[in-house]
Each structure stands twice: as structure tokens, then as C-alpha cells.
């Protein structure tokens, strides 16, 4: 009985610290990030991260929250970008007085308008039909972007200058760091709004329609309208992300609304975990890091991201956030420590295996791609000759031995995992 009163009391009102704590933490994190990572490339990466966070979250309003698999979400992102860059030019021309920091609103509006138009017929069905329509619309938009040159600027796109118009507290958004704070503010506001959307009747019913569209119709809701509302909200936020992209890069091209960008956002949301609100945030952060850091070191970084995506789909469909969340029961029971050693026993061979495979791929790539007679390559600071035998032996040993050890250690991790998660093991302190 005490259990009952406790849980229902908890539903009605969570303590305000628990409710606002994460948001305050998020806000502080956004504010201090440029002081921790001060280099220009770090600011550049974080700007991109912020844009992708909004974009990926807007995408997840469709996929994770509403059960709509879209292959054309970049349409709203790209249109938002184009619209914003045009308004940026109007501001520069002086034909229009408007503060630059509010520019993404125009991106959001055009995203919303197009979501209303396209959503009016594409949300009729979920599943394959919806996916196919989104793919078709995406291709249509990408194709027309090369035809309607006046709006889309053809192959070179449309560029602008973000430093014009009224300034905000003397900031003209010239330096990237000022743009960072602009993006961070938009990230905070839109993330809060998207979270709140998920807590409204429309957001809750999006989940219901995702779970069981038919039943939703028998509790008074048209599945189509529920999807439509989510779709419009999603288009709005994708447009805002596109607007920020325009402000950040001062150029928007056809690439921003084609299938590649649509694929990227799907990848981010999925790697992060579509079943969790923060999943796409994690995905956007990880993806941007991989993109900017990995691409410094290797030409074939996209392949690694691709492999990661495939592995996620196959083995951890709940995404990176899902992996983290899997540990909460053990964490609550204070048994996480018991998993450290088993993880290390599996993790070290795994690292060795990954290193072996990656080394092999890098060397293959070098052998295939390097100039004639050029056979020295450097990998993690080590210079060696790809035409000699030794490096190949080393990566083979790393890969095979690592793989073998990893297999042999899988069993002990499974046992340790079960012990750590067994509520009956040890003291009866399991809280359900």
C-alpha cells in the first residue's frame, strides 16, 4: 500500500529540482563549452553539433515518437536554410530591417509551410507508404533545386553575409564564437520546446499511434491527424535547424536538402537511439565528433560510420542511449562496479580487434590510393612501408587474436551481467 501511495504521489508532482535540474545543467553546459574547448576548430564543431542536435531531434519527432520513417527530412532543413539565406540577403540589401539572430524563424516558417503541404497527403499512411512518399518528395526537391535557380542558386547555392542588420548587445555574429552562443540559445529553446511537445496530448498520442495506430482510432483520434500534427512540428524545427545552418555557414546548397543529408539525420537519430528523447542529441554529438575528428585522420571515416550504423541496427537497435540506459538497474542496485573487470576483459581484445581491422582497411586504402612508388604511410604516428610484410602481419595478429579473445570472453561478461542484474541475488534491496 505504501508503494501505491508513493508512486501515485510521485506522478502528480516530482520535486522541482528533479524536474528542472537537468535543464539547468544543460543550460550551464551550453554556456561553458566554449571555455573548455577554445580552439577555432572546436567552436566550429560545436556549432555544427548544435545545428544537428535540433535537426536530429526534429527527425525523431517523426521516427521515434511518431513511428514515421522518413527518407526526406532534409527537405525541411534545406528549405529552411535557403529561406534564411535569402532573408539574410534582404537584410544586407537594406530592403528589410530585421535582427540576424531571429533569422531561423523564417527557416522554421517555411519548414512548417512545406510540412503542412506535404504532410497533408504523406501522413495518410505510416510505414512503407509514408517512407516511399518521403523519398519521392526528397528526390523531387533535390531535382527542382537544380532547376529553379532563382531560389536555389543552382549548383553553387546561395550565399550571404550574417554580419548585417541590427546587432544584439553589440554582437554582429562575425566571430564563430558569437555564432556559437546564438546557436546554443536556439538549441536550448528548441530542445525545451520539443521536449514539451512530447508531453502534450498531441505528443502523447503520437506515441500511441506509433504503438498501435488502429487502437488510437477507437479512442477518438484520427491517426492521420495525429501524424500530421507531429509532422508539422517536425518540419518547423527542421527549418529552424536549417536557418541556423545558413547563419553558421553563410551558404546553402542543394546538398543541404538532398538524400545524403536525409540519410545523415536518420543515421544520427538511430545511432543515438530513437526510443529516447535524448537519443538523437547523443547521436548528433557522436556523429559530429566522428565526422570532424575522424576525418582529420582518415579518408575513409564514412565507412566507419556506416559500419557503426549497421552494427547498431543489428545488435543494439536501442542505440547508444539504450546501452547507457541498460545499466540503470545495475546502477540502482550499486552493482556497476562488478561489471568493470568483465568489461575490461572483453574491451581490451575488442579494441585490439578493431585496431587490427581498421589498420588493415587503412593500409588497403593507402595501397590502392597512394601515388605510384609512394609506399610509406603513417598511422597513429608510426611510419612504415606498406609493401613490406611486417605491418600486414601485425594488423592480422591484432585482428585475429583480438577477435578470438573477444569471443572467448563473451561468456564471462554475460554471466557477470546476469549476476549484476538479478534482483534476487545478494541482498533484497531491489527496487522495482
Amino acid at each position: 500500500m505504501s508503494e501505491i501511495t508513493k508512486t501515485s504521489a510521485a506522478t502528480v508532482q516530482a520535486s522541482s529540482l528533479k524536474r528542472f535540474g537537468p535543464w539547468i545543467g544543460f543550460l550551464i553546459l551550453l554556456m561553458v563549452m566554449p571555455f573548455i574547448f577554445t580552439s577555432n576548430s572546436a567552436i566550429f564543431t560545436m556549432n555544427l553539433m548544435g545545428i544537428f542536435i535540433i535537426f536530429a531531434l526534429s527527425y525523431n519527432m517523426l521516427l521515434g515518437q511518431g513511428g514515421m520513417l522518413s527518407f526526406g527530412h532534409a527537405v525541411y532543413f534545406g528549405l529552411g536554410g535557403f529561406m534564411s539565406v535569402h532573408f539574410m540577403n534582404y537584410i544586407e540589401d537594406g530592403s528589410f530591417v530585421f535582427p540576424m539572430w531571429l533569422l531561423p524563424i523564417f527557416g522554421g516558417l517555411i519548414g512548417l509551410v512545406f510540412a503542412i503541404i506535404i504532410g497533408s497527403f504523406s501522413t495518410r499512411r505510416a510505414g512503407t507508404v509514408f517512407a516511399m512518399i518521403s523519398l519521392g518528395v526528397g528526390e523531387l526537391m533535390a531535382a527542382s533545386s537544380l532547376i529553379f535557380v532563382a531560389f536555389f542558386g543552382g549548383e553553387e547555392g546561395v550565399s550571404g553575409d550574417r554580419t548585417m542588420g541590427p546587432t544584439l548587445f553589440g554582437a554582429d555574429f562575425g566571430p564563430d564564437k558569437e555564432v556559437y552562443y546564438l546557436i546554443a540559445a536556439w538549441v536550448f529553446v528548441t530542445v525545451v520546446l520539443m521536449y514539451l511537445f512530447s508531453r502534450t496530448p498531441a505528443g502523447r498520442l503520437a506515441n500511441a499511434v506509433r504503438d498501435n495506430a488502429e487502437r488510437a482510432e477507437f479512442i477518438g483520434y484520427s491517426q492521420r491527424k495525429v501524424r500530421f500534427v507531429s509532422f508539422c512540428a517536425s518540419g518547423l524545427f527542421a527549418g529552424i535547424a536549417g536557418g541556423l545552418f545558413a547563419v553558421n555557414f553563410e551558404i546553402v546548397t542543394e546538398e543541404n536538402l538532398n538524400a545524403l543529408t536525409s540519410g545523415t539525420v536518420l543515421l544520427m537519430a538511430y545511432i543515438g537511439g530513437v526510443g529516447f528523447f535524448i537519443g538523437p542529441i547523443v547521436g548528433a554529438v557522436v556523429f559530429t565528433l566522428l565526422q570532424s575528428i575522424l576525418s582529420h585522420y582518415t579518408d575513409i571515416w564514412q565507412m566507419y560510420v556506416g559500419v557503426m550504423f549497421v552494427l547498431t541496427v543489428m545488435f543494439v537497435p536501442q542505440g547508444l542511449t539504450g546501452i547507457m540506459m541498460m545499466h540503470t538497474p545495475a546502477y540502482r542496485m550499486k552493482r556497476l562496479g562488478g561489471l568493470t573487470v568483465p568489461y575490461l576483459r572483453l574491451g581490451i581484445p575488442a579494441i585490439s580487434m578493431v585496431a587490427g581491422i581498421a589498420g588493415f582497411l587503412e593500409m588497403m586504402h593507402h595501397v590502392r590510393g597512394a601515388a605510384q612508388g609512394e609506399s610509406t604511410m603513417s598511422l597513429i604516428g608510426i611510419e612504415f612501408d606498406t609493401h613490406s610484410v611486417m605491418p600486414w602481419v601485425i594488423v592480422a595478429v591484432l585482428g585475429i587474436v583480438g577477435g578470438y579473445l573477444m569471443r572467448s570472453q563473451a561468456g564471462q561478461l554475460k554471466d557477470a551481467w546476469e549476476t549484476a542484474n538479478d534482483p534476487t541475488a545478494g541482498k533484497k534491496e531491489a527496487s522495482s
Partner: protein
């Protein structure tokens, strides 16, 4: 007084096969009406036709005297008819609480609102908690509906159907697959939530039917062969032949 439901020459064909072959049925306001019949008689199809899941091939359905033929399910629900399903049909990844709350949303006039925050809506949450208590799932309200036991899912199914306060409730085999004690609980629940409402139920368990129903209709091969009180149905020769006799071991 208008009836709760009026079926006039209702017909449904799937290709050349006619499943419902001209059903005329009046369900009175406030009664508990059971529909029985052998397997394949078309009981669930009849439910689907009334609740808007299937399009009619012919005839008409009225709810409180208003024609609802071929309206989409959500329109019919909004006019005051709610139903449950034979195969459990819930929102598996959402918590029990969320399931019931979604069932209340339309009745509480939230429509497709994106300007209310559900956690702040005290009345909505209190009502949800009440329904959950009625269906006996208070201690399980925060777990995903998909991991409930079968009997609990059936109770939730009824809870979702009844939450919105529809005045006509249709239950499709609410006790199917339940043990004796679970069935008793389910019947008590059904009595409680349909108090003062019209209940239409399909049921295989004759004990439940004769216990709960005010009137019984017997559906055989897409036609109603009798509608009467339980006592008269029990003594009806045609019914005994067509149904009870054939499956006396039930």
C-alpha cells in the same frame, strides 16, 4: 425512447462470401446485451461493422437514432460508442498510466492540443488514476503495458475502452483465455464500469453470458436466429439445435 443501437438489414461480404447476411437488431438503452454463436458465425465481424472498422456492404447502423453507417472509428467513438478487442489491442511500449490517459484524452476535450502539458492537467491525471484503480492496476501503472500478464492486459483493454465515459460499450470476448478466478474478477469489473451504461458483449463462456446479460442474441452463420431473455434463450429449440446442443460440452 430510441434504442442505443439499431441495426437494419446489416450485410457484409468479403469477396463472394457473405459473412453477415442481413442482421436486424435493436439494443435498448441501458441493457446488457450478449451476442453468442458458434465459431465463425460472424460475431467479431458484426462488432467491426458497428464500430466502424469495416465498411458495410449493405444496411445501416444507428447509434441513439443517428445514422453512423460507414463513419470512421474515431467519429463513432466521439458519438459515444467505445469498444474493446478480442485480441488484446493496447499501446505496448507506453506505460499503463499513459495507455489509460490516452483513452481519456478525447473525452476530456484535449483534441490534438499541443498547448497543454499532460502532467499539469490535474483533473485528467486524477481521472486516469481512478480508472486504473478500478481495473486494479495501480501498483503496475508505471510499467510498459506490453509486459503485463495476459489477464492484466485484458483488464487494461477494458479500462481503455471504458475510460472515456462512452455510454455504449462493446466488449469482444472480455474473458477469453482467463482462468476461473480471473473470469470472476473480470465480470465484477465489467459490471462496475458499465453501471448505468449500455453494454454489448460477445462471449463464449455461457456462465458469464447467463450471469451478466439482460438479453441475448444468437448469431448463426451471419443471421440472428433469436433475441430474448437468458431464460427464453435457454429454452429456445432453434438455439439449442444450432448452438447449445452442438457444443453442449462448453
Amino acid at each position: 425512447m430510441t434504442n442505443a443501437i439499431d441495426l437494419k438489414d446489416l450485410r457484409k461480404s468479403f469477396g463472394p462470401t457473405e459473412i453477415i447476411r442481413g442482421v436486424d437488431l435493436d439494443i435498448r438503452k441501458g441493457e446488457r446485451h450478449a451476442i453468442i454463436g458458434p465459431n465463425g458465425a460472424g460475431k467479431s465481424t458484426l462488432f467491426h461493422l458497428i464500430s466502424g472498422r469495416y465498411q458495410l456492404s449493405g444496411g445501416s447502423v444507428s447509434l441513439h437514432g443517428e445514422d453512423i453507417s460507414n463513419l470512421p472509428p474515431y467519429e463513432i467513438y466521439r458519438k459515444g460508442l467505445s469498444r474493446s478487442f478480442q485480441v488484446t489491442n493496447i499501446f505496448p511500449n507506453m506505460s499503463v498510466f499513459e495507455n489509460v490517459r490516452c483513452g481519456l484524452m478525447w473525452a476530456q476535450e484535449y483534441k490534438y492540443s499541443f498547448w497543454h502539458l499532460v502532467d499539469r492537467e490535474t483533473e485528467l491525471n486524477t481521472k486516469t488514476a481512478q480508472v486504473i484503480e478500478e481495473i486494479g492496476l495501480t501498483s503496475r501503472q508505471h510499467i510498459p503495458a506490453g509486459v503485463l500478464t495476459y489477464a492484466e492486459q485484458r483488464a487494461l483493454e477494458i479500462g481503455i475502452a471504458a475510460a472515456g465515459g462512452a455510454d455504449v460499450i462493446m466488449l469482444d470476448e472480455p474473458t477469453a483465455g482467463m482462468s476461473h478466478s480471473e473470469t470472476d474478477q473480470a465480470i465484477a469489473l465489467i459490471r462496475e464500469i458499465t453501471e448505468g451504461k449500455t453494454l454489448v458483449m460477445v462471449e463464449h463462456d455461457m456462465g458469464v453470458v447467463f450471469d451478466v446479460a439482460d438479453r441475448i442474441s444468437v448469431l448463426v452463420y451471419g443471421e440472428i436466429i433469436a433475441t430474448d431473455t437468458p431464460e427464453n434463450i435457454r429454452n429456445n429449440k432453434a438455439v439449442q439445435e444450432a448452438y447449445l446442443g452442438a457444443e453442449a460440452d462448453e
